[in-house]
Symmetry: C2
Subunit: 456 residues, 2 copies
């Protein structure tokens, strides 16, 4: 066993440190394609454990890679420089659910769905709903400022974080924000750590804002002849003064893959599909969804399926999830990019993706959050292990990102930079902002032990 392992065992106890082959393998990856082994895995059980680990790592210049659920899509927690994988999954306690104060407190390893479900049992609501809801930890949600379909109406993770306990690079423990719904005391350090991808500190406790749970919801699944008609409907709905709790769009390639996967009869007709969810009060949502249906009928919909209650909504959401499985079912490698464009450019984006297919032979399946322009753009690659195909695919991603940046878009809306988008970070941020990022990083982590090897 290495000195590092032995020293950490002395510091924390044998039960919290591992260098078993199995653990090393597990903590080498997230859901992206990069892999690099840590020297040891620390399973922190308390803030004190995290603090002791960082203090030690700081003194001895050892890289530390924080990780809660490990369900990221960018290699954000992959320990590219070895050192310590700091697993937070044992810190999985919900510390408080308090509707009277409108807050919940949780350790970073609490699974987001568990938190949301427990809040719901109290009749309240924690809205952020990343696709990895059932596997991701709330700490990782904070570290990446996670989004999801409902963020159109309700805002991303940042909008719900009131307070944080953070262990800084040298092991000192900082509390910032608190349990108040408004707080203008000092700079927005909560915001600075929210989305910092483990590069500025390790989050050890999260206080989230919870809100009254809408009494009910309802949905429309709307088939359109083409993407342009569906995108026009997105604008028309928003212009009418309705802010849906979700507004999701799907393109022709994705629908075709889903037809192959589920069968023609399970899917709506047309080359584009729009999901519109609203929520609100029991006695009015039923009439509101009918009004919305009439309105959308006037926009040239081919077919509209109405889901009047939560169970029916879940069926439409299941269809939305099946779109992902349909794409996987093609047997192709799905390079899932979470780019964002200004909403007016949705149609241009899809047209540009068709151009990429024409240029490279790689189809691009687009679906996702139409309301905020955050479209999951999936490059469907035949054999990603084939070096020539890989090169061609990587070039196509380059081409897409250049177009996105040239069109006032963002290269990531939800997943973060991590390793996956490292090479574009500097261009995307611009020189002055990138330099400022470096200065802040150097000030907070002068030895560069926190998640080194990533975008700074």
């Amino acid at each position: 066993m290495s000195d590092l392992y032995q020293n950490l065992v002395s510091l924390l106890g044998a039960g919290k440190v591992s260098s078993s082959a199995e653990d090393i393998t597990t903590y080498s990856i997230d859901r992206w394609n990069a892999s690099a082994p840590p020297e040891v895995v620390v399973f922190a059980e308390s803030t004190a454990d995290v603090s002791a680990t960082l203090k030690y790592a700081h003194e001895h210049d050892i890289p530390v890679y924080g990780r809660s659920g490990g369900s990221g899509y960018t290699g954000g927690c992959v320990p590219v420089n070895g050192g310590i994988a700091l697993a937070l999954e044992r810190m999985d306690k919900i510390l408080e659910i308090n509707p009277r104060d409108g807050i919940a407190r949780a350790q970073p390893g609490v699974i987001t769905k568990t938190l949301a479900d427990t809040v719901r049992e109290h009749g309240w609501y924690y809205p952020p709903d990343p696709a990895s809801l059932k596997e991701c930890g709330i700490g990782g949600n904070v570290a990446t400022n996670a989004g999801g379909p409902r963020c159109l109406k309700y805002g991303v993770t940042r909008s719900y974080i009131l307070g944080l306990e953070v262990v800084l690079a040298d092991g000192s423990i900082m509390h910032t924000g608190g349990r108040c719904h408004k707080n203008k005391t000092g700079f927005d350090l909560v915001g600075l750590f929210c989305g910092s991808e483990g590069m500025l500190g390790i989050i050890t406790e999260v206080t989230v804002r919870i809100i009254p749970h809408p009494q009910t919801r309802a949905m429309l699944g709307v088939a359109f002849a083409d993407f342009t008609a569906a995108a026009a409907a997105v604008n028309a709905i928003l212009d009418s003064g309705v802010l849906p709790s979700a507004l999701e769009i799907t393109d022709a390639f994705t629908l075709e893959a889903a037809r192959d996967y589920l069968g023609e009869d399970k899917l709506p007709p047309g080359d584009a599909y729009l999901i519109v969810e609203i929520d609100g009060q029991l006695d009015t949502v039923a009439s509101e969804i009918q009004s919305l249906k009439s309105f959308i009928e006037g926009l040239g919909a081919l077919r509209i399926d109405l889901a009047p209650d939560e169970d029916a909504c879940e069926e439409i959401w299941q269809l939305r999830r099946d779109f992902s499985y349909g794409l996987r079912n093609t047997g192709m490698t799905k390079l899932n990019e979470d780019i964002v464009v200004p909403r007016s450019k949705l149609v241009q984006l899809v047209e540009y993706c068709q151009q990429i297919e024409a240029d490279t032979g790689i189809p691009v399946a687009c679906f996702g959050h139409a309301g905020d322009g955050n479209i999951h753009t999936n490059l469907m690659v035949g054999d990603y292990d084939d070096p020539k195909t890989k090169q061609s695919a990587d070039k196509a991603v380059d081409q897409l990102f250049q177009w996105v940046l040239a069109n006032d878009g963002a290269i990531t809306g939800e997943h973060g930079i991590g390793l996956a988008k490292k090479k574009w970070a500097q261009q995307a941020l611009g020189e002055t902002s990138y330099l400022l990022h470096q200065r802040i990083k150097n000030e907070l982590d002068p030895k560069g032990i926190l998640n080194p090897g990533k975008f700074l």
Copy 2:
């Protein structure tokens, strides 16, 4: 004329620099009681002007105090170390209103109400509504992360800022964020500058998110026998799954002052008053407000006034504004503190304020944003110019803030630290956070030229 004046005239042109007695007086203050004269006032007309001014100031170690509307309540822009008052009021152009992208772009001197009204003319909505709406600049709103009644449902200014152009201490121009509704590229620098009170950079352009404007709204004005009953109603409403667009509470002292000011018959009965506003779709808000009225009748309301449409709502909002005038009409000095408590402690706060009155003879009028615990706590002081009274009042504020901090509250929810709360900042932030504030400040502004003399 001083060298500084002459040099700035050479740099910017005579029309943009003033050291007239009138301008020096105007730019010595905001709405708080501190006053300190700048040496010169610069009226920037462009980002280039701001950049040139900061570059010059940075080279020559001259303090710079940014200011848009000057309507702050904390002395935040008061030039305590002299130097340059950097007025941004001439940078007052709305650069873009774009519902297709869901954004608006504005220079920092645009009055917030002008921005909101112009967005509304396009049928869209910019929700943040600080009380100084008609006078404050959007740049100052960003610098203080301004709030308002609607922030309960819609979130504070930060929730609407997508992109910023910021001039850094050395005059370099940084763009951060952009026009996308989601953006996870790098750290949340937008958040770091939002609420930084002119201490990290000068904001020269703001891109805000706009949302569909709710089709209509309706309100209830509800009289209760006492504050405890009104506070219980706040919890009951939220527990029922309704998230009002505003939920405002008023205490007995404030009501009594308003009765003196407006006449007994203009005011509702009882010792507490609750305002509940909801918004939504035209064909359902009417029934929703009726349901809510029935629900609140069951909570022991003395009287409920129903405002069914926007005009009627404005009448109730006017009454809310008259509460402020009623307090001013007492002839007393109103020390307006914007403290926040966890919502469950609303009643304890009011009881503690009664204790302060018993201890010091200074009545405390409480009204404000009950939904998020952000209560404007007004110490009503007879003769603030009398040294003994002032001492006693300052001691009472001390006492209040100590109680707030001991009860997990925040010393400021909307106004910021500025000078007014400078002496409590370190305790409120805690040692580790305060040190980190200092390190970030020193890194971004090593010469300390940006708003010096404030809380760091």
